[in-house]
Amino acid sequence: MKIDKNTINKIARLSRIKLDDKESEDYIKDLNSILDWVEQLNEVNTENVEPLSNISSSILPKREDVSNDTNSSEEILENAPDKLEGFFAVPKVVE
């Protein structure tokens, strides 16, 4: 078993997702079955194979270095769950 209680807690913490005990158990089961299933990739010889991270054949085009002022902070803050004096507001982080 690759994923145990400790591992799932660690991943959940890295993902910033709180899990209750029941959920942890379910995900341990799900993740282990998925990881067992993807294990078959080890059958494939990938020695000297370059990893493919971008399938796009396009070359990054250059553009003019000009500023493009689209300051719309008021509009953007409309969607914020909490805001204060033109900023996003979050719970206090320093004591």
Partner: protein, 474 residues
């Protein structure tokens, strides 16, 4: 009920046989009659009427003027909220318009509403949506069927004739599989053909926008409208977009079709093998050379995909933290608690599963064994196609391993659900264009789909083969 095509409707509008208002009122009526199918996350009659008013005052010539289009609720739209079918984006009102929807607006089309999908496009049945299942319009009274997914709402909207076309996105089959389940045409173009700007990201190296329509001609018209270079998407391709519709040519004489032997999978229903054979026979009669090809790494495509896609998703979905937009939990004693509770309550089960698996395969000590390994196998899969396309002009396969299945089936076993994409995922990994067209029925009279794959940016060949098969089938 005979469904009018986009092509015919454009003619009727042009000759004043019908007005923009009459046309859209007809669609509005059907949308209201079909509310029980839960196809739309957002629909506002008032909004549609406002668009009609504006177009009536507009005297300029526009290619899609007055054409009712449904938009998958993964595309940011300024005139309508955008949710990605997630609680975490409930009440999100984008401050900008996606590239694809802007193109459609520039052409004068009318957005009838935002369609349902699997949450963040993660699923194959439109059953992971926070806003509930969409029901396949082809369902019988007593047995509701899934429309496929993730773009199930868009496929269903076209199938129920609630629009003349719809946008979708396809990461591993999310346009082609629902098109097959709903008996409509769905095309996922080459990775990079349509800008991803303004589409809520799932797996950025795979995500691609595309089109649903009643037929291949309509798809060729609509795809041309949404394709094009955009500097705000760094993977957007600078290629000339041909006039797919004008160039449609159903004469395939002298072309070569590749038939990959690895797509004959144990357990595939007879009916699916049968329509595949039928399609090959039709092509043979049209003078197409049949070439048996091999794509030896096909069986590794799904496990490769289910490492790469969740890995990229776990990174893309990090932005939903309850600070900038969308849902925020009430339990927020500290900043970390705010993040953890917001994401625990805001994401659904499948999305959390994928974030967790993605985080695991990217985490220290596992990156090489999983993510890097998957990227290497992805290279081999892409190379398989490159080799195969030296011997053929296009490839024909079934679209999905089954017809539409009952709602709620396959929900408990993630891997079984993932197998839905067995025929569509390989081309996604290779970034190739693929279309699904309705071809044949199963024993319950449900539609089945044939998939045609082409070379990078050879959408024209894909459309030509599709229109040829479609015309021979009708």
């Amino acid at each position: 009920m005979s469904k009018s095509s986009l092509k015919q409707t454009l003619k009727d509008l042009d000759t004043k046989k019908i007005s923009i208002r009459e046309l859209n009122q007809d669609y509005l009526k059907r949308i209201k009659e079909n509310e029980n199918l839960n196809i739309f996350i957002h629909f506002s009659e008032e909004n549609v009427l406002k668009q009609i008013d504006n177009l009536e005052k507009d005297n300029s010539e526009k290619k899609l003027k007055g054409i009712p289009i449904a938009i998958k609720d993964l595309f940011c739209t300024k005139s309508m909220p955008t949710t990605a079918a997630s609680k975490i984006l409930e009440n999100f009102n984008p401050t900008y318009e996606s590239f694809v929807t802007q193109k459609l607006l520039d052409e004068g089309s009318i957005f009838v509403g935002k369609t349902n999908l699997d949450e963040f496009a993660m699923g194959s049945a439109t059953n992971t949506s926070f806003f509930g299942n969409t029901i396949n319009p082809l369902s019988q009274e007593n047995e509701p069927l899934a429309p496929g997914g993730s773009s199930g709402g868009s496929a269903a909207a076209v199938a129920a004739d609630l629009c003349l076309g719809a946008t979708g996105t396809d990461t591993g089959g999310s346009i082609r599989q629902p098109a097959s389940f709903c008996g409509v045409v769905g095309i996922k173009p080459t990775y990079g053909l349509c800008s991803r700007w303004g589409i809520a990201a799932f797996a950025s190296s795979l995500d691609q926008a595309g089109i649903f329509s009643h037929n291949v001609e309509d798809a060729s018209i609509l795809l041309q409208s949404i394709a094009g270079f955009d500097q705000r998407d760094s993977t957007s391709a600078k290629v000339d977009i041909p006039n797919y519709f004008e160039n449609l040519d159903d004469d395939l004489n002298g072309k070569t079709v590749g038939i990959p032997k690895e797509y004959s999978i144990d357990g595939t229903p007879m009916e699916i093998s049968q329509i595949w054979e039928d399609a090959i026979k039709v092509l043979e009669k049209k003078g197409v050379k049949i070439k048996n090809i091999s794509l030896p790494h096909t069986k590794y495509a799904l496990p490769t995909y289910y490492i790469i896609a969740p890995a990229e998703a776990s990174s893309n979905l990090a932005r939903y933290d309850g600070v900038k937009y969308g849902f925020r939990s009430d339990e927020i004693d500290s900043l970390d608690e705010m993040y953890e509770n917001t994401r625990a309550q805001g994401f659904g089960r499948e999305v959390k599963r994928r974030i967790l698996i993605g985080t695991y395969v990217l985490s220290a000590g596992y990156y090489d064994a999983y993510y890097l390994k998957a990227q290497k196998v992805r290279k081999l899969i892409a190379d398989d196609f490159n080799k195969a396309f030296k011997e053929c002009d296009f490839i024909v396969t079934p679209t999905a391993p089954s017809a539409a299945f009952p709602l709620n089936e396959k929900q408990n076993d993630p891997i079984k659900m993932y197998l839905n994409d067995v025929f569509t995922v390989p081309a996604s990994l290779a970034g190739l264009p693929g279309i699904s067209i309705p071809f044949g029925k199963d024993k319950n009279n449900l539609p089945l789909g044939i998939q045609i794959l082409g070379k990078h940016f050879d959408e024209q060949q894909v459309f030509n083969a599709a229109v040829s098969l479609e015309r021979s089938y009708e």
